[in-house]
Symmetry: D2
Subunit: 331 residues, 4 copies
């Protein structure tokens, strides 16, 4: 249930409402909006008796929240949300480009690619230091060494850093070095990790599992926000289907679906969906046209030698072409 | 195998090659291009001995065709193909808008909607007279009566007509009344119907089955072209997946995949994929941005009373908005 | 709606009810059971006013039919149905084994295999004369010549014959030569063909499309029964999923689902689902254990030279082993 | 690569081979079999030069391992493996029944159900103390309190205990209290958790993710075994597909596929696949007939009040019926 405050309700009135909710045995989470504040009630099983709340000063009305996700629902926060990291605003403006290699391989590799994508127009650098690999025998990333390289990339280029955390331990490290903490598709159902990310002081980029419905993705985002961290960026990266022309089937209808259901920003990763670089530019254009708030794209200065699935990394000149096409689209 | 003729090869030399191929027990199908003609060899099981062909006058070289589809493959015809119907060119130019109701319900309904979509910028009117319905007890369309109404729509508005044929018998009727013969997703594997469509004198709009791979779609197109009708327009309309935010999952990666594999034009039907009208505009924009040659959209002047799934038909004002958005995108 | 007659209602009373229903503008289809007859009302859109029916002589009660399928629903016919063809009873007894090659290749091939599977315990011989092939260039079957071979197989071995029809024209031929008319997975949505099969005088074996829900399969069966032919045997043969260890994923939960929803018998085709012979025996055992009324299995005396996907045909000795395992299971 | 030792090779010779492999910079893992020991080489990228190994005493031959999974592959250990826990042998014998509620709710509930399933013939009690729930607001399990109840169940009934761990922290607790550590479908891609489970001293029951291929499941098992714990039981529990007659589609072809690829035992969870109790008995019978080494079934003494999806729990009398049916099948 949502307790909507009057436009001129005071902070003290909001606090009083939260206290009253806690007295009822529930949690009250304030949802500030541009015009008015609302307080979302969490923890109730079944309907809440709102009679005591409705008579409180500053309270305008109560609204039931019909979805199983509460804090990430547009029902509780009707205005689309932008997440601001440094000088970069994700959501509610120009699409944000996040680009870089699958994995950080070396300082030279990372810096080379970072300079190329920076020049091309990227604002965020991506690159994995902790790689969740299907095989225990594959390269698992450089670990903290990789994070230090990413920190250097930021220092040298001014690009923000997004990189993946795969467990509690490396989540703390990622939080320390990166600007945005990525939770990968394989960990979208790792609720323990999501809870930990809910206590982090940095925004979280949460990728949709290749087997998740939109509702499940939003429930996973709710795990993060219900722990206190409401800075969540969602990411569509393809789902598993019978179709074999791409590695996964990019579900661009997820963009309007999420925009309808939630105020959170949503970006698209066409590289992992397609699994082949020649589809990345058209799918990127499609993603932006559908309304995505940004892109997460794999770029490598030497794709054939990339320590990962080099088939999908863009060549630098393709990245330049991509940026040109996107700028053309949104001009 | 493809026998590529020299740029200055004469028609007689092409015919001689075809005759030679027939003498070998195969079929030879000429594939004229802007620069040179090639002859595609069909009917061979296994490799062809090309020694006799390579020494013929006018022959430049032979090229193996690696795909199971031959005539619709870009290997045999590298240049993208446009299909011209009346004043409308599908492929190789501005995207073509095909719009109209799910089913033709009455002359008044059809004309009302046709005038609205014509005004909005549509060039082709869609509307079913023979409806393949999951239930034998659902409205199955007006039949030939519906086709006559469609003919009247063309006469009154100048719009071209596309409508579906579901068996041999009504295929003949559709061919007689319509400008483009639609083969629906449920009949994409109906090889007998495809063969009949291969003998029709009108272009065929072939929809991808919701369970077909790209290769299977192209094989179905090959059924049509191998019978003589090379005027095939493909259509992506969503595939069946576990994802439940839309009726089917629109697979926009099919567009670059088909553009790579075939010279045939490809359009997108966002209405049947989404199953709900509020996603049609974003998905349409995505389809055009990805590179589709046109759209097939459901529009009804009174969606809530449509004799079909009225949830997915656009209101006329939404269609106007859609056209504005598309024009904005391709300006 | 179902009009349930009293146990002692006379045939004249049933006819009077049907006449009354027709007078209301609907169709009335009698559903005889072991204890009592019911009349199913078809053709109504929305609820039927049953007041006139309830006061008629011999009428016990009316029951709403909640499913979109009517005649094939267990709601209208609670007793499981057996389909008797010659000496073979499909449903309500021992599982029936249908076995043979993918395609009829020659009289010698068909007779050789038929004798082997007859000896092994098969009661029905399968073999295609009209093959729905993905490629127009693949072997499409021997046509009527193949049907004549099948007729000879019956004459020589006493086995019943099941073979596929793919369009109106060959349906008539199949009806003439075969004992059971197969409609393949690719034609499950070919409503025109289903209607024609509904007028046939032979039972129909209807395979589930690899992309159909159970409800859609039953709706396709309803197309057949609503035209008058209530002798329909259903067949599960695998669905399309992301899983790649078999060609299709055999959905054995379809068996209890169909048993719950319908009185029709249901058999399983493990060969096309698995796409490889070494899984056919375990999947066959699973199918029978789950409750299937029979199996449709590919067997070839020389699988590596089969004119079809020879990977999936059992060797004769494997078929013998299969029968032994099944007999062990149901002893 | 696998270094196969002679039948009469001494332990010292095996150790010498392992040392030689380590000298080459790789790991050597001994794989003892009933007739001979082999040493699996791990950690190589690309082919290994085996010339030095082939000349060592006691070495019979080297065999390349073609699969990406090594230690769990039947290539490295051709004999099917049984996992013995207490008096219970999983694999290579009678199917093992694991039964109990979704979640441990109270001591009384757990003991009541445990006594019922023990009487019915179960050998292992299942029940979650740490529940991975889609919603952060759902009951998340009793935690360590639940584990203590499970320990009491073992003490009172003699049943073994299997229960789920969802992160590093509770994995240690589960290892302490339970007999078998369950890793759930949602954590099959949680490689960090898998590695930790690889250091546990108890067998691991690893469930297939609803979106995993067989190869990915085996790769996840390899994560566990490559850390030293080779006691892994696999579990098929349904995959996500378009089909809607069950919650997930139980993929029984996974059983022969895994039996072919790996020596590990594989059991089936029909309850979570079906999502409804009335399909559990037929699917259980199917699973055993296909060759599963056991079943994991949800049973509750009062399903309608179960703290979980009560739709899928068997009533106690259904469990008795199930056991009767299974015993009938394997008699």
């Amino acid at each position: 249930m949502l307790v909507v405050m009057k436009n001129d309700a005071s902070e003290a009135q909001v606090q009083a409402v939260i206290q009253e909710i806690e007295g009822m045995g529930f949690r009250g989470v304030p949802m500030p909006g541009s015009l008015r504040t609302a307080v979302c009630i969490l923890g109730n099983q079944g309907p809440v008796d709102d009679s005591r709340l409705l008579v409180m000063e500053g309270v305008k009305e109560t609204i039931p929240v019909t979805k199983p996700y509460k804090l990430v629902s547009r029902e509780t926060q009707p205005e689309s949300m932008a997440i601001v990291v440094g000088d970069v605003k994700i959501g509610q403006g120009r699409p944000v480009m996040m680009a870089g290699p699958c994995a950080v391989e070396s300082e030279e590799q990372a810096l080379t690619i970072a300079r190329l994508v920076k020049k091309g127009g990227a604002e965020v650098f991506r690159g994995g230091a902790f790689k969740p690999r299907t095989s225990p025998y594959s390269f698992q990333g450089l670990g903290e060494e990789g994070l230090k390289i990413l920190a250097k990339v930021r220092q040298e280029t001014g690009l923000l850093i997004v990189t993946e955390a795969t467990d509690h331990t490396n989540l703390e490290l990622v939080e320390k070095y990166a600007d945005i903490i990525q939770i990968g598709a394989r960990n979208m159902h790792n609720y323990s990790l999501l809870r930990h990310a809910g206590h982090a002081s940095k925004p979280v980029l949460l990728k949709r599992s290749f087997a998740a419905t939109i509702e499940e993705l939003l429930m996973s985002a709710e795990y993060i926000t219900s722990e206190g961290n409401n800075q969540v960026i969602l990411c569509e990266r393809g789902i598993r289907t019978f179709s074999d022309n791409t590695r996964n089937t990019l579900d661009l209808s997820a963009i309007p679906a999420i925009k309808e259901a939630s105020h959170l920003p949503i970006i698209v990763d066409p590289s992992h969906a397609a699994g082949r670089r020649d589809y990345v530019i058209p799918l990127s254009k499609g993603a932006i046209a559908v309304g995505a708030d940004g892109l997460l794209v794999e770029v490598h200065h030497d794709p054939t030698h990339a320590l990962s699935d080099g088939m999908q990394s863009l060549y630098p000149e393709q990245f330049t072409e991509l940026m040109k096409e996107i700028n053309n689209l949104i001009r």
